[in-house]
């Protein structure tokens, strides 16, 4: 069970920041402003932000940006980043090219 959250609780208004154009997720080209906006639209967990905007779903599978995404969400909600649940890690942890799968030999 996850932690109690009343999603109608006031987290303040979305205020534009000078570095909102900064790209946080390089694979999917998601900016800081987009992530902050998503939090204000109700995406209060890492997984919800991921599913809503696709950060951490690109080639690097969040190895570069997941920490940044987490910190941005936590700051926007005014909570400690450790309160946010990490994204599920799904193998393969590193991307594998299809030809490696293609050479797979069936053994009985």
């Amino acid at each position: 069970m996850s932690e109690y959250q009343d999603r109608s609780a006031d987290i303040g208004k979305f205020i534009v920041q000078p570095d909102d154009d900064l790209i946080i997720c390089r694979c999917e080209e998601i900016t800081k402003g987009e992530i902050r906006q998503a939090v204000h639209l109700g995406m209060w967990t890492m997984t919800e932000v991921k599913r809503f905007l696709r950060p951490c779903m690109g080639l690097c599978q969040g190895q570069t940006c997941s920490k940044h995404v987490k910190n941005i969400i936590a700051r926007e909600l005014g909570i400690n980043p450790s309160k946010l649940v990490e994204l599920s890690v799904r193998p393969p942890v590193r991307p594998i090219e299809m030809h490696i799968f293609g050479n797979e030999v069936e053994t009985k």
Binding site: S2, Y4, Q5, R7, S8, L41, G42, W44, E48
Partner: protein, 240 residues
């Protein structure tokens, strides 16, 4: 008035719960939505995203056709979120006589509801999907079936419902359904909070089984339209 009171208490924040909240708010009814995990935690984020009409339980087909004609095509604009809806058609493949009989049966049911579904055999299948396996000998083709992104659709309904004033509470595990004046009106959570509504709506989907219901006879069992209907009805309740 108690803050934990609303016209409708919805249990479960998957696509069914979030869309229920959205359409209730559009009608002007207040609602509180309770979710144990997070928005779209269960079946709503663990499916292939087929918005299909064919091959369903007969009781669902009418609703699915309505959704395909009237809900899905404009949903992205309505919610302000790209739900990636593509009416790409749906091909159900088979390779033996049992499959062929099954597909023919699906077509018969589809025809009954005025849904266009064709039987394709041999090379006709490759014309629709050139990459299909050579083992496939028969297929049912429904051109009006579609796919959508279940993640953004669920979160889109959530986003719009929240904007319209629906109250969403996550991390609330429902432990009991309580009665008031002989009707199921209360939802008691594991933290001891009591939510009370004029109506209760269960949108639990695959998570319905573990919820203990005090007296089954007081509820009219219904089946959620968002999940496939199984011949054996899952334990689900609703008095809406």
């Amino acid at each position: 008035m108690n803050v934990n009171t609303a016209d409708v208490i919805i249990v479960g924040a998957g696509i069914a719960g979030c869309s229920t909240a959205y359409y209730l708010r559009k009608k002007g009814l207040s609602c509180i939505l309770l979710e144990e995990e997070m928005i779209g935690h269960g079946g709503s984020s663990r499916n292939g995203g087929y918005a299909r009409q064919s091959g369903r339980d007969e009781r669902e087909i009418g609703l699915a056709i309505f959704a395909t004609q009237h809900i899905w095509p404009n949903l992205s604009e309505e919610l302000g979120v790209n739900v990636e809806y593509h009416q790409s058609g749906y091909l159900v493949c088979g390779y033996d006589d049992a499959h062929l009989a099954g597909i023919k049966n699906r077509i018969k049911v589809a025809e009954k509801y005025g849904l266009e579904m064709q039987l394709k055999v041999g090379d006709e299948i490759k014309e629709i999907c050139p990459h299909v396996s050579d083992h496939v000998t028969c297929a049912g083709w429904t051109p009006s079936d579609a796919t959508a992104n279940p993640l953004t659709a669920t979160l889109g309904f959530y986003k719009r419902a929240r904007e319209l004033g629906a109250r969403f509470i996550t991390g609330e595990k429902v432990s009991k359904i309580g009665k008031n004046k002989g009707r199921a009106r209360q939802v008691v959570t594991s933290r001891g909070t009591v939510y009370e509504g004029d109506k209760l709506s269960s949108r639990l989907g695959t998570a319905a089984e573990p919820l203990s219901i005090p007296s089954a006879s007081t509820f009219r069992y219904i089946k959620g339209w968002s999940t496939s209907l199984s011949p054996k009805p899952p334990r689900r309740f609703c008095n809406v």
